[in-house]
Symmetry: C2
Subunit: 157 residues, 2 copies
């Protein structure tokens, strides 16, 4: 199971994620892919940098898979998030969820991306045309400005 | 644009569909994949057969892409549906929609699969353990029993 919930510095191949969740019992796979977008509120992004506290991030991804299984039942989930420097259109995250019927696959996949942004310790540094900024949490509600938090400052709650 | 909305007898590669919609302006791609499930209401499927009136089906797929663009704006959509004999876990359909933000990608992808089942002339023959049946429309609300409709019987409305 371990490699179903992964942080990686390598490019992510969506087919690999999809193949891991396809199974006889499932009639539906929903895949969400987050890519690096050029413009955010009128500012041009040149590239992004992601950093993560990997063991905790992978643990949190696995937790999201467990939450999906509890809520929807009969699910299979893969979540892979890339870190390091990402260029425009590079894939930052792939979620793939298989379920017997399609409504559940859509809902569970949507749930996964919202939860990633809530609980997974991954920090994004925006490199804009006119400067850089660490985006504190992925919901972008706070900013750590020049630095990301130290490992000791994070709570595994 | 033509090959973004395709009926094919060959296996569908999700990565090919995804690559076609990834672009600088998009931060999100939602992909829906329909696969051949073993059990439906307790009946075991051995394999499926899909047939289609291809020119009309591709025209309708393209129409769905246009509807998505009208409703959500700034979208890019690929829809590929396979026909012929499909085994368990084979991919029958892949939808990929890219949008700047994720909520739209999820909604548009969901819209696409519902519309496919409403308006695209593709017929499914279930080969169960204990017999076969043509599923008339994809919403499975009527059955053509032993045959699919003649081309002349279909209206392009």
């Amino acid at each position: 199971m371990t490699n179903k919930f992964r942080i990686t510095e390598e490019p992510i191949n969506p087919n690999d994620c999809i193949e891991k969740v396809v199974r006889n019992e499932a009639g539906a796979v929903n895949t969400f892919i987050g890519t690096v977008r050029e413009f955010t509120r009128g500012k041009r992004t040149l590239f992004l940098e992601y950093q993560s506290y990997i063991p905790m991030a992978e643990k949190k991804l696995r937790q999201i898979g467990d939450e999906i299984q509890e809520r929807w039942g009969d699910t299979d989930t893969v979540i892979v998030h890339r870190i390091g420097r990402l260029e425009l259109t590079d894939i930052a995250v792939v979620i793939a969820v298989s379920t017997p019927h399609r409504a559940d696959a859509f809902e569970a996949s949507r749930y996964a991306i919202e939860r990633i942004k809530e609980i997974v310790p991954i920090w994004k540094k925006e490199h804009w045309e006119d400067g850089t900024k660490w985006i504190g949490d992925q919901k972008e509600k706070k900013s750590y400005e020049k630095k990301i938090p130290l490992e000791e400052e994070m709570c595994d709650g």
